[in-house]
Point group: C2
Chain length 439, copies 2
Amino acid sequence: MSKAQKFKALRGFRDFPPEDLGLREHLFTVWRRVARRYGFQEYDGPPLEELALYTEKSGDEIVGQLYNFQDKGGREVALRPEMTPSLARILSHRSRSLPKPIRWYSIPQLFRYERAQRGRLREHFQWNVDLMGEEGVEADAEVLAVALDALRELGLEAEDIRARVSDRRLLAALLRSAGVPEDRLVTAYTIVDKVEREGRDRILDRLEKEVGLDREAGEQILSLFDSPGLDGVRAAYGSDPEVQGALREVEAFMTVMEELGLGDFLEFDLTIVRGLAYYTGIVFEIFDRKGEFRAICGGGRYDALLERVGGDPLPAVGFGMGDVVVGEILKERKLAPEYAREVDVFIVSIGDELRPLARRLARSLRDRGRSVTTPLRSLSVRKQFQAASAEGAREVLVLGPEELARGAVVVRTMTDGTEREVPLRELAPELQVPDLAGA
Amino acid sequence: MSKAQKFKALRGFRDFPPEDLGLREHLFTVWRRVARRYGFQEYDGPPLEELALYTEKSGDEIVGQLYNFQDKGGREVALRPEMTPSLARILSHRSRSLPKPIRWYSIPQLFRYERAQRGRLREHFQWNVDLMGEEGVEADAEVLAVALDALRELGLEAEDIRARVSDRRLLAALLRSAGVPEDRLVTAYTIVDKVEREGRDRILDRLEKEVGLDREAGEQILSLFDSPGLDGVRAAYGSDPEVQGALREVEAFMTVMEELGLGDFLEFDLTIVRGLAYYTGIVFEIFDRKGEFRAICGGGRYDALLERVGGDPLPAVGFGMGDVVVGEILKERKLAPEYAREVDVFIVSIGDELRPLARRLARSLRDRGRSVTTPLRSLSVRKQFQAASAEGAREVLVLGPEELARGAVVVRTMTDGTEREVPLRELAPELQVPDLAGA
């Protein structure tokens, strides 16, 4: 074997040495804290699942983006690219017996095989929050509130981020009202979803050819995408009863968000289509206001999906928030925690005969919940203090024969260099002061 | 697509619905807390690595036990079966610049393809704790202390568990002293490692045939395995200088463990060989004293391994503790946390016109860190109280028109059913009491 051979992480996969894990843990801690505040419970599933669990939901085309293979027992398996199919599977055995609404969250690591691109990752962690068994917009609002409150807790306020909200039912009503036939609705979603990327003319062409919408009707639909807000929709289509009904739902959603104190974060924006066919109501995406980053979070209502992937029929609303974009924004805004190696106490022994006492004292302090290190070999006092600094000790306890003769220990606060004497029995009542004269 | 099709988790893989995740989180929380108490820092690596990272350390035979495959870019990759190769890889780029000792831990999920056996898992979570850059037995003792303190923190004391400790250098010295030639030492380790499973005669036969140890010398070695403790070793081989040196190391280790307050957990036991060829010093395994479960934890010193798998040469000592056996023991001893759905506060509204206030109050309480739920649709008061019970609310706040007319809210403690009135401004000073007369 060649000792010189050096390995690297696979391209698109991250290592998390302590200085990088700190930010990830900060995100996970805030995500968990906020989810619990809303009464959500954590679950998890396996990172490896049957391949069919994903093709059932997304069709065979998804296989090209998966880490899939045949295991040694001949099963077709895949690393999970998303969590919802596992959620449906886990719930399918138990959701009937659970009181509704079911509030669950998870922080899975997800995997997608993407053609190598600079900086493009093939794994990320995604906070998945889902509320199941409740149909109304109050549930939708609660779920978006969880996402926004987590971002607030991370330091991002309404001047930093915005949630762009639309409603699949409203878009459907508008498209129907403009003359799109029922069997072309999904095609129309995917076309208007591209309004920001493709030219206006190309969109109008496609609406004409693929959906059968004449130029004038197409123009009218597209004009709604130009100015956010509900006023344009009301003006153009407000007399259509289906549009009226859908508008009431969106307005009710907005009112609940106001009551939850989050109105400032919201913008109604029809261009938020979220191409995926399975959304059935409110849809949303959260962005930084400057538009420097990709979407922070996306979600919405998907009432038919759980049943479709083999679960019980349950109305549901949820979102996914990845660790990568949020992490980038926090770093850019100087909101990421600074990495520092830290320990509460480092114990210095003046003379090797005091090292056993140092270990006993370390044990006592650790049993009281403090983090403590001591040198693991004989070191000069100078080197012990260097080690204390390198380990980021906040306090150094110095065990010296003179002070111990008085039953005392010197406590040095490392930030300001101040020192004071403290009785050993105060630090650790169960320890005997050693008889140094007898040593 | 067939709606009736139900998926299951792959055999050997676990789902973690909230009632099962609680125990896992309890383990992780204690593991992290205790590691930090000793100044260890958390790291992580990717679950998918180059296959060669594992064959480099363990030879091609390991491939039969791996989840390995070729990815879409033609790379041979594998789900990680253990953490040490990733640790060596991550450290190889940075260990020279890190102050020593390096204290790192991780809680990776690990994967092994094992032929289907009842109850045998193909994944588990393993707490990996490693201390690098320090050669002496004080480092070995500190690492074993981390493992034992975590088990103490989980409720297992010296009457429940024991750490069986041996030393690879002592065993080598004994085998050499008995006449085992240098090039047969590793073979001899693997033979005596089986002394508890294979018959005595078979072990003696193998020592004779495979290692060249005559019957008498073989008997003398095996007699050391019959009675734990160092006395037998001293009596039979104490005059051998190499054995003397190795004995002093073991005794020093035991003394440090006493000073760390953990002497009661220890047993010297030569039969703890840990077959793996890479151990170079102290080795240990932790078991429940009744012997009902498999090993809880195993580890030891492996001074040459990091270099061998492509890292910098660094002396190292570490252990792995899996979540499965510990979880089984905690359940059997009734030490596992009881699962309960819980929320601090559930807000009941008497009359739908108070539901907006309920949401505002929920927001205020959540901003103060409390977990709060409210109904997401109009419900009768009776159903609201049922929901509060189902969600495990500790307190119910009742918003009623009469009390609010006095600026007050009823707070009901669910454990004892007691009720008291509290001014709304005390719960949430920023909220306006609504003008109910005007509604």
